[in-house]
Structure formats: structure tokens, C-alpha cells
């Protein structure tokens, strides 16, 4: 052994002791945000076009400006909705968004805005960037990315002590193959004919967009293309999937809604079946943990959990925005309050305890179960709609929004795509709601 190596070898113990001393003297772990208030006198910018949210702002009389794509400008002008157009480019890197948001920030500042509330998944980082300019705090932007970059999100959750599956970021099919093999090896299933599945997800898309289930090595070649990368690869979690809608103010969960995904991607029910509802205290603890781990002061989060057979909750992902699938409308129906108004109130850091008083109903006291069934086109061309005759006579049928389509060519569908209409159900008994939510998955509502 050369002399130098021996010297190094001898010094490592001393170095290690020194490092430990340094670490004991400073604080490690997540950097806590400095949650600053906004200027009371100024306006709120709603990032994204959502009529119910605009209506909510009008009801609670917070001055606002809507920032959205140019195509909404004429409608806004026609109805005197304060509006600023902005082209949200979907293909920008996070760094580019931060840079470009300065220009939008300047425009909004001129219009007396100093706070931004995101509506949709793709506007979360824009709102984060704007708020970090408004508060002159760049970490606010990084914080918003936590809710967008699924790998960053999972890592944070994992380090905070939430139960997550095993995951890695992947750049190529080879990465997926390696991950798939390792997972199966760990579970001693690598010799099985039917191996353990893994999930491949887009790093930053909403809902099921870019989600592929890999059940064999063949699937890697068949189901994936270059467009799927970079991606997040995850081990499979078993159990019932639920989503939560947590309204947060002052770092505390003020109201927790639990939504049961009856058929993933198609139908959901609020509140969930009694078996799941019984787990509310555990779910609430877990959601509060998410709030703490992610250092959330205010706003709405929409986390998804898997409940395993033994009742353990596994964290799937979390979004910082209004949920899709008409969940807010279902809540409105069963809990009897306006979640859109509550969203605005919770997204405003200045909202006071007095203002929140009486906004939320008792989350344990609901009035029946409400379900929504999203209707997707099943073929590329549609000429009319085809409603099963017995549907409207079902005891839980409430309403639907199916019109004969004006355009027969269906837009490209990604993930679960855009639904063309929704069927709503409502009944005292959750079984009466769950049954039609399951029954019509294979029915083609279009001709």
C-alpha cells in the first residue's frame, strides 16, 4: 500500500468526527418557507379560466384579474370579466418559465395585482413563479415545483416519512427494463411467468396523462415510445384508490373531503362508501402529515392515496389545485357548501379566522352520496348519442350533460382525455350510486 493511501486511510476517522460536529451545529432537512402575507389592498390573479372560480371571487368580493389564454378574451370582454391574456407555453423548462413569468409579473403589477392562485395543473408553477416575484422569495417557486415534478414530490414525501412505493426517474426504455427487473428480483418474482407490474408516469402531467402500466418486458417495447421520457417509474401499490380534497389555512386542514374512485378514470363518489369513511381519522392524520411535510400554509391540496387491505395508507401523489372529475360539484351537492368560494378563501394567505367561520360544514355530516360518471368517446367519429333507456329511470339518476355533438371528429385523446359529457347520480345509499358508476363503463354513449 503506497504511503499516501495509508495517510488518507488513517485520517478518515478524524474527518468523520469533524463532519458530525459541523452537522450538529447546523440545521439539516427541508428549508422552511417564510410565508409572507399579501397586500390587502391589491388584487388577486386567477391563473387559468374557470367560471365557477370567477363566480366565487365575485361572490366573496375579492378584487381580481383572470389570466388565461387569448381564446378566452372575447368572452371575458363580452361579460366584463377583468382579463389579461397570456400564452402559457406548455413546452417551457422550469427555468424558462421563471424567466418569462417576470414579464407577466410586470404586467400584473401594473394592474395592481400581488397574489396568484392557480386553477389547473399546468398553471401551478406559473402561479408559484408569480408569487415568488410578488414576495421577492425565489423559494416559493421551487416550492410550487414540488407539486409538479412527480419525482421531486415523491422524494420529499418519502423523506418526510410518508409511505410511498419504490420509485426512480427513467430516461429510456433501458432504464425501465432495469427498474422492472430489480423490482421483480427484490420480490423474488423474476422467475414468474406473471411478474410484478410497475407504473410509468409522466413527470409533470395531470391525472392519467402519460400513465402506462408495464406488466411484462414486452410491454416496455409495445407501450412506450420516446414521448414517454423522461418519466417516473414506480412499484405497484395495491388497494382502493381515493383522493382527498383538503382545504388548508394557517397550516391546518380545515375541511377534508374524501372521494372514492369507483372506476379509476371514469367515475367517483363523494363521500366514499362507509368502509372507507370509517377510516376518516387515519386519512385526516395522513393528510395533515402531507401538509406538514410539504410545508403548506394555505390553499387546497388534492392528494391521492392507496388504502391497502390492512388499512395502511400509501401516498400516491399530490396536486395543489382544484380537482377534476366534477369532485367540487359532488361536494357541493352532499355537503351543501360552495367549495369554489372556500378554495379562494383558503388560497388567500390573508383570510382571517372570522372569514372562515361558518364556511365549512361538519365533514362527518353529509347528506347522501353523489357520484359522477365521465363519458368518453369510444371511437374516432361520432354522429349521435346513445343513452341507455333505463339510465334515466335509475333511482339515483340525477342529470346528464350529453348533447348531440356538433363536430363528429373526436379530438386526440391522451390519458383519459377530455370527457364529452357527464352523468350525475345522487342517492342516500352509496350502493345505489356505486352500481351505475360501475355498470356503464363499457357502454358506448356515442354512435
Amino acid at each position: 500500500m503506497p504511503l499516501n493511501d495509508r495517510v488518507k486511510d488513517l485520517s478518515f476517522k478524524a474527518n468523520d468526527r469533524q463532519d458530525r460536529q459541523v452537522l450538529q451545529r447546523r440545521k439539516t432537512g427541508p428549508k422552511r418557507l417564510n410565508h409572507k402575507k399579501r397586500d390587502e389592498q391589491k388584487k388577486i390573479a386567477l391563473i387559468g379560466w374557470s367560471i365557477p372560480s370567477i363566480e366565487a371571487l365575485d361572490y366573496i368580493q375579492r378584487p381580481y384579474i383572470v389570466v388565461s389564454l387569448p381564446e378566452f378574451e372575447s368572452y371575458a370582454t363580452e361579460h366584463q370579466i377583468p382579463f389579461t391574456k397570456w400564452n402559457f407555453d406548455r413546452n417551457l423548462s422550469y427555468d424558462d418559465i421563471y424567466d418569462q413569468s417576470k414579464e407577466l409579473h410586470d404586467i400584473l403589477t401594473e394592474q395592481d395585482v400581488d397574489h396568484a392562485i392557480p386553477i389547473f395543473e399546468e398553471t401551478v408553477e406559473w402561479a408559484g413563479a408569480l408569487n415568488s416575484h410578488f414576495r421577492k422569495d425565489p423559494e416559493l417557486y421551487d416550492h410550487s415545483i414540488l407539486f409538479r415534478d412527480k419525482a421531486m414530490m415523491k422524494r420529499r414525501a418519502h423523506m418526510g416519512g410518508l409511505k410511498v412505493g419504490v420509485f426512480e426517474e427513467g430516461e429510456s426504455k433501458e432504464d425501465v427494463r432495469r427498474f422492472f427487473k430489480r423490482i421483480n428480483h427484490s420480490l423474488l418474482r423474476h422467475r414468474d411467468e406473471d411478474p410484478e407490474p410497475i407504473h410509468v408516469k409522466a413527470l409533470n402531467k395531470a391525472g392519467a396523462a402519460g400513465h402506462r402500466i408495464i406488466r411484462s418486458e414486452k410491454d416496455i417495447d409495445h407501450k412506450l415510445s420516446d414521448g414517454n421520457f423522461p418519466c417516473l417509474m414506480e412499484s405497484h401499490l395495491e388497494g382502493v384508490e381515493i383522493s382527498c380534497e383538503a382545504f388548508i389555512q394557517g397550516g391546518k386542514v380545515r375541511f377534508l373531503n374524501i372521494t372514492e374512485y369507483v372506476v379509476f378514470g371514469y367515475s367517483m363518489m363523494v363521500p366514499p362508501s362507509p368502509e372507507i369513511e370509517a377510516l376518516r381519522p387515519e386519512v385526516r392524520d395522513e393528510v395533515q402529515k402531507v401538509v406538514d411535510v410539504f410545508d403548506i400554509d394555505h390553499g387546497i391540496i388534492h392528494p391521492e392515496f392507496f388504502i391497502s387491505n390492512d388499512g395502511t395508507l400509501y401516498f400516491g401523489e399530490v396536486a395543489y389545485r382544484i380537482p377534476g372529475g366534477h369532485i367540487f360539484d359532488l361536494m357541493k351537492k352532499t355537503y351543501g357548501f360552495n367549495p369554489y368560494e372556500a378554495h379562494i378563501l383558503c388560497s388567500d394567505p390573508n383570510t382571517t379566522e372570522e372569514e372562515l367561520e361558518g364556511v365549512f360544514p361538519d365533514e362527518k355530516n353529509h347528506n347522501g352520496h353523489a357520484g359522477s360518471f365521465l363519458v368518453y368517446p369510444k371511437s374516432e367519429y361520432i354522429s349521435g348519442i346513445n343513452i341507455p333507456p333505463e339510465l334515466e329511470d335509475h333511482p339515483s339518476f340525477e342529470k346528464h350533460t350529453l348533447f348531440r355533438p356538433g363536430v363528429s371528429k373526436v379530438q386526440d385523446q391522451e390519458g383519459y382525455g377530455n370527457h364529452l359529457g357527464t352523468v350525475f347520480f345522487y342517492h342516500e345509499d352509496s350502493e345505489h350510486v356505486k352500481q351505475p358508476l360501475t355498470d356503464y363503463v363499457d357502454h358506448n354513449f356515442f354512435m
Binding site: 367560471i51 363566480e55 348519442i385 350529453l402 356538433g406
Partner: protein, 657 residues
């Protein structure tokens, strides 16, 4: 007044409607589905329509129609209503509520910016006239077994409400106007006319005005038989027996009455056919009366009596009753004097038909009539030769072939009688194109994938072949740097088409190029006062832009200019043959081809000269029969150009040279 409605349904509607009324204007759309669903529930109640009508004057302001096709009632079209009513889902609910709004406007309960009281009333009258079958549903076995869908039930409720609120009088007037328009064109295929007359017949038991009642009766009798004896003996078989006992005077009266009705309406009754067949056997001298012939017609009948008698025996049967009208007109035209026609017809009687053609022809009538496919084909040829302007394309996009059959029937019956056996016997039609023979049997695709078989027998036989040939000609003439029709039309139709050709569209760029030059050329070759008096001898196959009632472009269409002449008011009009024989064409900008009242021959439609040019996109002309293009009035050219630019022209780029 107490309404028979379920209170929980009406309360739900009131609440949902109120929420929508109170909503911010921009948010109203969000509450539409609740209000519509609640309205749908109310519609199930007995007096549901009446209840909803109480709110109809507030529908617009509440935002019930906002953001959808119903938002602007002035743009709604009556003929689209029945489709929407039968569509499932929310579409039919909005459509019904939109009708209730129209009633409210028509009654003056609700003033609308763009729809006047009168317009709303006209709209509803047309809707009712077009949907008489919903008002008086058929009591058929099929309807009974199939049961009625939700949509059908709701639609019937709506129409009962409309019938109570509106007078049936104006509906009858509208319906008769529609029938008049169709009948004026004397189409060979009368299925639609007959079904509208059956609809109108339902109105006879309702309080409608005397004049309309008379008109309806006239049409009903044209179908059922207007003569005295036939009213006594309904059953055709008994009628035949009754004729044998009739006196000559009775027979003459009978024949006169039938002939009058046939020439007035273009419609033939079964009894008329029975009478003519009887005369053909027993009372040959009465045939001219039964056919209602003029002196010229009688002369032709006398000249070719044996032939005509043979044709009646073979082809004039109750299932093909309309051919009797064709036969009368054929004699008036004197077509039998054209040398190839008689042997051509004789050949068809015993022609060996292709099995698929036989099947196709037999399918066109009811089974078990005891009639051969050849009989049907001959009857079809009689109709085509008698009514060259009565040929229609049906539901098929084959205006070219229909135009061809019409042209050949008018000017080249011998050629037509060559094409038919080629197709029916040989399963092939050939056309020479620039030295090469094109055989239809070798071609696979034409413009039509699936022939709609509601066609006259001649079209049934020829369209599949001619359509494929036309498609092949278009293919071969492509990429020559000019509109394909320049070469296709003379090859397809024959030497009757002039070789000069001009199009408003630049074939390379697709833009409108030198439009004023195009207009000037048309005026100087077609306007009688500018083209040095050259008469149009053969129909000119031209291309036009079809526009809807707002002047928006729908597509291209083929019609033929039959003649250019002064109408009874002294205005120059273009008289055209439109293979799409629809009575009410409304092309926007006040351009509405008329089918009668402006000197039209039955089957023609016409427009003032400049209005026609404003929809023209291509025409043929004889380069040796041209007047001075510079002599065309500048204002006239500008007038045409303005109409063109503000209608179909909006969809094109305009390039000035």
C-alpha cells in the same frame, strides 16, 4: 287554471331556473344542465309544456340557450327541428324549449331583437308543416310494436301544445305551398309529394280555411281518383268490372276528369291506369281523351298507334302509374318520330337483363305485383322521355349523371336508348376519351359508395356506370393546370357541350382570379342583348356555388342552363335544370330560385340573370359566338361581384389581375 303537473318536478324546475336567472351573465351556461334536466322532468307531466310555456318569455334572458346553436333564433332552420327533436340527450330538450320561446315571440309575449312576431310565426308554421306526422302519428302495427321512445313522446306533447296555441290554418297554407312547389317541377319520382299529400289529408278534419281545404282535396283526389265512377267503386278490380257496364258518355266524363287532374298535378291515380288499360283493349278511340292530348299529341298517337298500344300493354300498370303521365308528355313531345326511338324501345321489352339489374328493378315496386323487370324498365324509359326535366338525383351526389340523362332525353334519345341496354344487358358502358376507350365494368369506384335506391328505373340502371366513368374522366383530366370539367364535360355528355370553358377559380391556387373578366365573358356569351343574338341550343352544363339561406358556402353543384329568356315581366332570367329537385331553395341575399310564376316550363327553376351569375363558378361557351365583353355594363359587373364576395366569396382568396 290548474295544470296537471307534478309539484316536486315543477318546484325543482323553478329553483333551477331561478338560480340561472340570478347568475352572473358569464356563469349562466354553468347552470343550463340543471335547468334543462329539470325541464325534461316537467315535460313528462300531462301539462308539462303549458307549465314551461309560462316561463318561455324569460328563457332568452335567463341564458337557457346561451353558447349553443339555439342562442340566435334568427339562425334556426325549420327543417333541422325534427332531427334535433328525435336526438337523444339534452339536444331534444333544448329544441323543445326553443319552440316554446318561438311561441312566446309569435304571441307577442316576448320581444326579440332579431326575430319579429311574424318571423316566429312563419318559423313555427314551417316546423308544424314539416312535422305533420308527429301531430297525427301513424297508427301502424310497426309503431305499435316498437313502442314510442321518450323523444317521440315529448315531441308529440310539444306538437299538441303547438296545435292548441297556433292555428292549423296557416300550417295548411304552408304545407300546400310546399306541395305546390314540388308539383310545379313535375318530378318523375313522387314519393315525397305523395307523403306530403297524405300529411295534408290529416288536416281536412280540422278547422282550416276553405281555399286550403279545396287545394288539399284536389291533391288527395289526384291520388285516389277524381272521376265519378271511381268514387263509387274504390276497389280497382271492381272498378274494372264497373267500366264494362258504363255508357260511352260515362266513360268520356270519367276520362276527361282523370286527364284534367293528371295534367294539373302531374300525379296519376291507380284507377286512371285501369281506365286507360281498359280503353286500350276495348275503347281505343277514347284513349286521346284519357291521356288529355292536344292536337299535336293526338297526331303522334295516330301515327304510332300500334306502338303506343303495345307500350301501354307492357308498361302502364298501377305500380308504375306515373308513367302514364310520361306517356302523355312523350306523345306531346313527338319523341316517337325520332327514328331510333321505336326500335330502341322495342329492344328493351325483351332485353336479357343482368341478374342484379333485374333484382334492383323489382325491388323498386312491391313484391307479388305480377310485373316483370323489363316492364319496369320500359315504364321508366317512358317517364324519362316524357319528362326530361323531371329526373332527379335522389339522395345521391350524382348530379352529373342526372344532368346527362336529362340532356340525352331532350336532344339525343337514340343515344340514351343505346346506353340503357349496354348497362342493363351487358353490365358495361363505354366512353371514348381522347382516343382511349373507358369501360365502366373495369372501374371500381365512382363518387357514390352506396347508391341510394330511391331513383327512377333509368337512373337505377345508368347511375352506377356513368358515375364510375365520370370519376375516371376526372382522374384522367387531373393535373392539367385547368379545371377538369373543361375536358370531362364534352367527353361525358357528348358533342352537345361547347369546348370553350371558363372558371372563376384559378385551378392552381384555388383563389378567385379576375372575377370581373369571368363575369364579362359570361354576359357576352350568354346574355341575349350582348352575345349578338346567338341562341342557346343545347343545355349548358355549368357549375355553381350552393349557399345556404345566410349566403354561406355549402359546396359545389352541377346544374344545366336550359335557356335564357325574358320572363312575363320583361326581365331576363336564366332558366335552369337542377337535378336536385327541391322546391324551396333559399340561397341567401334574397336569391331564391323560383319554380313557377316566372315563365318556367315544368321542371325548370329560374333566377334573374345577374343573381344566377353571382352563384356561377364555371361554364362552357362557344368561342365563335361571342359578343363584346367591354360592352357589359360596369355597374352590372360590380353588382354581381358584390353579391359573390359577400356570400361564397368569403371562403376564398380574391386576386385581382
Amino acid at each position: 287554471m290548474t295544470l296537471d303537473v307534478n309539484t316536486s318536478n315543477t318546484e325543482a324546475f323553478k329553483k333551477a331556473f331561478h338560480t340561472m336567472e340570478e347568475a352572473f351573465p358569464y356563469a349562466k351556461k354553468m347552470y343550463q344542465s340543471d335547468a334543462l334536466q329539470a325541464a325534461a322532468k316537467v315535460m313528462e307531466d300531462v301539462d308539462g309544456m303549458k307549465f314551461l310555456y309560462q316561463y318561455a318569455d324569460r328563457f332568452d334572458a335567463a341564458g337557457l340557450f346561451e353558447g349553443g346553436p339555439w342562442a340566435e333564433p334568427s339562425k334556426l332552420e325549420p327543417r333541422l327541428v325534427s332531427g334535433s327533436l328525435m336526438a337523444s340527450g339534452m339536444t331534444s330538450i333544448v329544441e323543445i324549449l326553443s319552440e316554446l320561446r318561438m311561441v312566446s315571440i309569435a304571441k307577442g309575449n316576448h320581444e326579440h331583437e332579431t326575430v319579429t312576431k311574424e318571423k316566429a310565426k312563419d318559423f313555427l308554421d314551417s316546423v308544424m308543416a314539416l312535422n305533420i306526422d308527429i301531430l297525427f302519428p301513424e297508427e301502424t302495427e310497426a309503431a305499435r310494436i316498437e313502442g314510442k321512445g321518450k323523444e317521440k313522446n315529448r315531441a308529440e306533447k310539444l306538437f299538441h301544445f303547438l296545435a292548441e296555441e297556433l292555428s292549423l290554418t296557416s300550417i295548411a297554407t304552408t304545407l300546400i305551398k310546399e306541395i305546390d312547389g314540388l308539383v310545379a317541377q313535375r318530378p318523375i319520382m313522387v314519393k315525397r309529394t305523395v307523403s306530403m299529400i297524405k300529411d295534408a289529408e290529416q288536416l281536412l278534419n280540422n278547422p282550416i280555411n276553405a281555399q286550403d281545404k279545396k287545394a288539399i282535396k284536389k291533391y288527395v283526389q289526384a291520388l285516389s281518383g277524381s272521376a265519378k265512377l271511381c268514387k263509387e267503386v274504390k276497389e280497382p278490380c271492381d272498378y274494372r268490372k264497373r267500366l264494362k257496364d258504363a255508357t260511352d258518355k260515362e266513360l268520356k266524363e270519367e276520362a276527361k276528369a282523370f286527364a284534367k287532374s293528371m295534367h294539373e298535378t302531374g300525379l296519376v291515380s291507380d284507377h286512371h291506369v285501369v281506365l286507360v288499360r281498359y280503353f286500350n283493349r276495348e275503347k281505343k278511340d277514347l284513349l286521346p281523351i284519357a291521356l288529355g292530348l292536344s292536337k299535336k299529341g293526338i297526331a303522334h298517337l295516330d301515327e304510332h298507334f300500334d306502338t303506343v298500344s303495345g307500350l301501354i300493354k307492357v308498361a302502364i300498370h298501377p305500380p308504375m302509374r306515373q308513367s302514364l303521365y310520361g306517356l302523355a308528355l312523350l306523345l306531346e313531345r313527338g319523341v316517337l318520330s325520332s327514328n331510333p326511338v321505336i326500335p330502341g324501345l322495342r329492344r328493351l321489352i325483351e332485353l336479357d337483363l343482368q341478374p342484379d339489374i333485374r333484382k334492383l328493378l323489382l325491388n323498386s315496386i312491391n313484391p307479388n305485383e305480377g310485373i316483370t323487370a323489363n316492364d319496369i324498365l320500359v315504364a321508366g324509359v317512358i317517364s324519362v322521355l316524357g319528362q326530361p326535366l323531371g329526373i332527379g338525383q335522389g339522395m345521391n351526389p350524382t348530379c352529373q349523371t342526372a344532368r346527362g340523362i336529362s340532356l340525352w332525353s331532350l336532344h339525343a334519345p337514340g343515344h340514351l336508348l343505346e346506353l340503357i341496354p349496354r348497362a342493363a344487358r351487358d353490365g358495361d358502358v363505354d366512353v371514348m376519351f381522347e382516343g382511349q376507350m373507358i369501360h365502366s365494368k373495369n372501374l371500381r369506384e365512382g363518387l357514390v359508395d352506396d347508391l341510394h335506391e330511391e331513383l327512377d328505373p333509368v337512373s337505377l340502371v345508368l347511375v352506377p356506370h356513368m358515375d364510375r366513368i365520370y370519376g375516371e374522366l376526372v382522374r384522367r383530366a387531373g393535373f392539367r393546370g385547368d379545371d377538369v370539367h373543361k375536358w370531362v364535360n364534352p367527353a361525358f355528355y357528348g358533342n352537345w357541350v361547347n369546348n370553350g370553358f371558363s372558371s372563376a377559380l384559378d385551378p392552381i391556387t384555388g383563389s378567385v382570379t379576375d372575377f370581373s373578366g369571368f363575369v364579362r365573358l359570361f354576359y357576352s356569351t350568354h346574355h341575349p342583348e350582348l352575345n349578338e343574338g346567338h341562341e342557346l341550343i343545347y343545355p349548358n352544363p355549368v357549375g355553381i356555388f350552393i349557399t345556404n339561406s345566410f349566403g354561406h358556402l355549402l359546396g359545389l353543384h352541377a346544374v344545366s342552363i336550359q335557356r335564357v329568356a325574358k320572363d312575363p315581366d320583361g326581365e331576363y332570367r336564366i332558366y335552369m335544370y337542377n337535378p336536385n329537385n327541391d322546391s324551396s331553395q333559399i340561397w341567401g341575399q334574397g336569391i331564391e330560385p323560383s319554380v313557377s310564376g316566372h315563365g318556367e316550363i315544368a321542371g325548370e327553376s329560374s333566377l334573374p340573370f345577374h343573381q344566377f351569375v353571382a352563384r356561377l363558378y364555371a361554364f362552357h361557351y362557344n368561342p365563335y359566338e361571342q359578343g363584346d365583353a367591354y360592352a357589359v355594363d360596369k355597374e352590372e359587373v360590380e353588382k354581381v361581384e358584390k353579391l359573390a364576395r359577400e356570400s361564397w366569396g368569403e371562403k376564398y382568396t380574391w386576386v385581382d389581375l
